[in-house]
Amino acid sequence: MIISIASGKGGTGKTTVSTNLALSIGKAQFIDCDVEEPNANIFIKAKIKEREDVSVNIPKIDENKCDYCGKCSKFCAYNALAVVPSKILVFPELCHSCGGCGIVCPKDAVSWNKRVIGRIEYGPAKDINFYHGLLNVGEMQAVPVIKSLKKKVNKNMNVIVDVPPGTSCPVIESISGSDYCILVTEPTPFGLHDLKLAVEVVRHLYIPFGVIINREGIGDNRVEFYCKRENIPILLKIPERKKIANLYSKGIALVNESHEWHEMFGLVFNRIKEEVKT
């Protein structure tokens, strides 16, 4: 079973939920898809054993074959190629590696260079198989790194996927294929507004979902009203406590501090298991 944890708004507690859930299950695969700012390993504390570069194909133009006809640059939807008199400029950061320039070139002048844009790392932490990805600084495209990570998904295990904030391409790539999605929010106007966006995304992908309200006690009741009206199950409420904020600030998972939290996240997992079955 694959459970992804998403939110729309950043900083609502995705990583808190995903890491505690994984630690409460015990035996699980954990995949941190927030490759721009991966934080889960601060809590999971896996020892990284293996590293793999993620690379994309970037066109290399053979200047002996090229006659500067400009077809490649005209075709490129991303403006990653420019033809100036007797020279072709390639802008690797803009290239999406669609392969189009190679297909349209009448002189067969395009070959491919590998360009490393990030890496994925693997390590065990007790019974958790931990994976995360890191987009290199200055790189635009998180999606290829997320795709490489998602190839590591082992469907025979319980898989927890930590999703980046937002609602666009990296989020869709991370969530798709999940059996269930937990949306983490906080009871504030920003939290509610971005929860509604996240709900649109999971509904669009036809993935069953429920909500966890973090920092309960601040703000107002509108998130709860919204969930009731929309028939969205609230799986758990995590109260606003100085102690919880302090543990988080030090990189300590709740379930490692108190048995009560261990139990509560265990109940959330069982409930999701039941819902996915039916």
Binding site: L135, A142, Y248, G251
Partner: protein
Amino acid sequence: MKQLCVISGKGGTGKTSITAAFASLEKNAVLADCDVDAADLHLILKPYVKKTTGFHGLKIADIDKNKCIDCKKCYESCKFDAIDEEINLIRESCEGCGVCEYVCPVDAISMVDRDSGFAYISDTRFGPMAHAMLKTAEEASGKLVTVVRNNAKELAEEKKKDLIIIDGPPGIGCPVIASITGVDLVLIVTEPTLSAIHDLERILDVSKHFDIPAIVCINKYDVNVDNANKIENYCENNNIDVVGKLPYDTIVTDAMIHEQSVIEFSDGDLADGIIKMWDKIKEKLIV
């Protein structure tokens, strides 16, 4: 004209609340919300929209099944797995490259415009604002950020404003790079948690990579004073100014519920801290 962008790496550190507070302190600025994925600034600034334009990001393939001869060339050529073996388009995966249209031998595929969202030009009680809405599951948020920034620049010229304050997105990828390219200064809002410190280091590398001066604000510093000190030391060692240390205060949420900035809503320590920080930032922008 000067441009300041508020970013954070990690989400939820307080970018938007701080940007809204700046907006209420500065009478001479254009506001721009570049977190087009999950825009929230409008919830405080309550913009009155004056002009809406449709945003077409990348194009998208449109397959005419009546013409299709099932040769599977498009399926084999698509690098984004956006066409399945039964030759159905998977909308969310299509990046609009046009390879399928090119390889189709019977012209069954055409690339069409995709309605990806809207860009708005608005008025607020604090001045003009450029913002946008990206539709669910759409691509090209970086491109929409660029539209918002161009709108903000035009607004600034038209209204003779000499400052643009940008509310940036979380992360370090495409929308962030589009938000900070060419700005004069970035303010990184962080908090004293190990996660935020980790993310701060990465976002500082990004600003260095693009050669943009960066300053730091430690929000909710009293959640973990030891970590706050660590951030200060780190910044000192790397010659980065910490321009503000703001206390944790539930007033931020209360102000949000009342659709007001922290400055409008209260005059406590937090508001004082933000006012002092804004004075320091303005000095930096003038130099």
